[in-house]
C-alpha cells in the first residue's frame, strides 16, 4: 500500500516539476528566442537570406563556366583526327597468367624495373610477382579483407597497401625471402573510411591516398604525418592518378559524386572539376603528356578530358557495352586506351578517332584493375576470377 502511495506522489511531483519548468522557460524565451543576446538574434535572421543569395550566385557561376567552355568548343577531337592514319589490326594475347590469389584481385601495380608486379585481393593477401617467370617473390597477409589499393615504391624496395582497415601501410621488401614482412610494417595513412587508392609520389618518401571518406591526402612515409588534405568531393573518392613528373605537382581524382577533380598538391586547392559522367568514376589516368586524362565509369563509358581546353573532348562508348569500366590506362604514346570492364572483357580504343580497335577475352569474371608496364611492352589486368594476366 505504502509503495503505491509513493508512486502516485512521485508522478504528481514529476508532472508539477515539468509544468513549472515549461512555464519558466516559456516566460524566458517567448516565441522569438529572447534569451539570446541581441547580436546572435540579428545574425540568425541573415543566414537563410545569405544562403539563398549564395546559391543563386553559384548557379550563375556554373552557367558562366559552361558558357566559357562552350565558346572554345570549335571542333571535335575525332574530326581533327580524321587525317591521322587509322590503326591496323591488333593481335594481343595473354602471355602470362599469374595464379595464386585465393579470392578476387582488386588492385595491381608495376615496379619500375618493368618485371615485378604487386597485387592485392579480397582475401587480404598482397603478393609480389616476377611477371617474366610468374614466380611469387613475396606474400603478405593483411589484417583486413578487401585490400583495395596497392602500389609499388619508385625504388622497388617497398609496397604500400590498404583497404577496409582505413589505413595505408608500407612494407619494406627484403631480399631475404624467409623474413616476415608483416613485422616491419609501417602504418602511414589514417582515414575515417576505406582506402580506395594509393600512390607513391616521385620518391619513396610521400604517399597520396584517396578514401571512402570523400577526401584525398598526402602523407610523409617516415613520420606518418599528414602533409596536405584535399576536400571537395561530395562522396567516396574511388581513384587517383599523379601527373607525369614533367608537368608538375598536380593529381586527378574521381569519385562516386560523378566528378573528376584536378588538385594542386602544394596548396590543397581544387584547380579544375569535370562532371560529365553519369555514374561513379572508377578509374582516372593521365595522358602521357600530362595535358589530358581519361576516366572509366559505371556508366559504361570512358571519357577523355583535356586540361588546357578545360572540357571533355572524347567519349569512348558503344551501344553494345552496357557494363561499367573499372580501370583504364594509356599505352606509352597515348594513342591506345585500354579499358577493363565488368563484362569480363578488355576494350582497346583509338584515343584520337574514338573507335574501338580490339576487344580482348580471357578473364572469367570482372576485370577490376589494369596497368600498362613502365616501358610499354605489355599490360597487366587483374580480375575477380582470382588471376592476373599479362598481355602483349
Amino acid at each position: 500500500m505504502k509503495r503505491k502511495c509513493s508512486c502516485k506522489r512521485h508522478i504528481f511531483c514529476l508532472g508539477l516539476f515539468c509544468f513549472i519548468y515549461i512555464l519558466f522557460f516559456k516566460m524566458l524565451c517567448g516565441p522569438g528566442e529572447r534569451y539570446l543576446p541581441r547580436k546572435m538574434a540579428a545574425q540568425e535572421v541573415q543566414p537563410s537570406e545569405t544562403i539563398a543569395k549564395l546559391k543563386l550566385e553559384s548557379e550563375t557561376l556554373k552557367t558562366k563556366l559552361e558558357e566559357e567552355r562552350a565558346k572554345l568548343h570549335d571542333v571535335e577531337l575525332h574530326q581533327v583526327a580524321e587525317k591521322v592514319e587509322p590503326l591496323g589490326q591488333f593481335v594481343m594475347k595473354t602471355r602470362r597468367t599469374l595464379k595464386g590469389h585465393g579470392n578476387k584481385v582488386l588492385c595491381m601495380d608495376w615496379c619500375k624495373d618493368k618485371r615485378r608486379i604487386v597485387s592485392s585481393s579480397q582475401d587480404g593477401k598482397v603478393i609480389v610477382w616476377d611477371a617474366f617467370t610468374t614466380n611469387k617473390e613475396h606474400a603478405v597477409t593483411m589484417p583486413c579483407t578487401w585490400v583495395m589499393a596497392c602500389a609499388y615504391a619508385p625504388s622497388g624496395c617497398a609496397v604500400a597497401c590498404g583497404g577496409l582497415d582505413n589505413k595505408c601501410s608500407v612494407y619494406p621488401l627484403s631480399l631475404d625471402k624467409n623474413e616476415n614482412l608483416a613485422a616491419k610494417k609501417k602504418s602511414v595513412a589514417m582515414h575515417t573510411n576505406y582506402l580506395s587508392a594509393c600512390s607513391f609520389t616521385n620518391s619513396d618518401m610521400q604517399i597520396l591516398t584517396s578514401s571512402g571518406d570523400g577526401t584525398c591526402a598526402l602523407w610523409d612515409v617516415e613520420s606518418g604525418q599528414l602533409l596536405q588534405s584535399f576536400h571537395g568531393h561530395a562522396a567516396d573518392v574511388l581513384c587517383l592518378d599523379l601527373a607525369p613528373s614533367e608537368t608538375g605537382n598536380t593529381f586527378v581524382s574521381g569519385g562516386c559524386d560523378k566528378k573528376a577533380n584536378v588538385w594542386d598538391m602544394r596548396t590543397g586547392q581544387c584547380i579544375q572539376s569535370f562532371e560529365t559522367h553519369e555514374s561513379d568514376i572508377n578509374s582516372v589516368r593521365y595522358y602521357p603528356s600530362g595535358d589530358a586524362f581519361a576516366s572509366g565509369s559505371d556508366d559504361a563509358t570512358c571519357r577523355l578530358y583535356d586540361l588546357r581546353a578545360d572540357r571533355e573532348v572524347a567519349i569512348y562508348s558503344k551501344e553494345s557495352i552496357i557494363f561499367g569500366a573499372s580501370s583504364v590506362d594509356f599505352s606509352l604514346s597515348g594513342r591506345l586506351l585500354f579499358g577493363g570492364y565488368n563484362d569480363y572483357t578488355i576494350n582497346v580504343w583509338d584515343v584520337l578517332k574514338g573507335t574501338r580497335v580490339a576487344i580482348l577475352f580471357g578473364h572469367e569474371n570482372r576485370v577490376s584493375t589494369l596497368r600498362v608496364s613502365p616501358d610499354g611492352t605489355a599490360f597487366c589486368s587483374g580480375s575477380w576470377d582470382h588471376t592476373l594476366r599479362v598481355w602483349a
Binding site: L61, R308, D310, V351, A392
Partner: protein
Amino acid sequence: MWPLSAVVSLLVCEVQHPSMSTKMQSSNNTVQAQRIVQQLQTEANIERIKVSKASADLMHYCGEQARNDPLLMGIPASENPFKEKKPCTIL
C-alpha cells in the same frame, strides 16, 4: 524518480525551443555555400585554349611518340620479354 523527471523536463525543453546545434548548422551551410561560390569563381577564371588547338597538340604528341610505343607498333618477339621467342633453325 528525480533523475527521470529531470530527463523528461530536458526533453520537453528541447521540444519547446530549438537548440544551439541547428544555429551552428545554418552557419555551416553558409560557409559551405561561400566555399562553393569561391571555388566556382576560381574555376571560371582559368585560362582556356580552343579544342582545335588542344586536339592538335594531343595528335602531335601521339605522332611523335608512336615509334616508341611497343604496344602500338609491335616489337619483335626477341625484344619483348613476354613474347615467346621463336626457336632458331640452323639450315
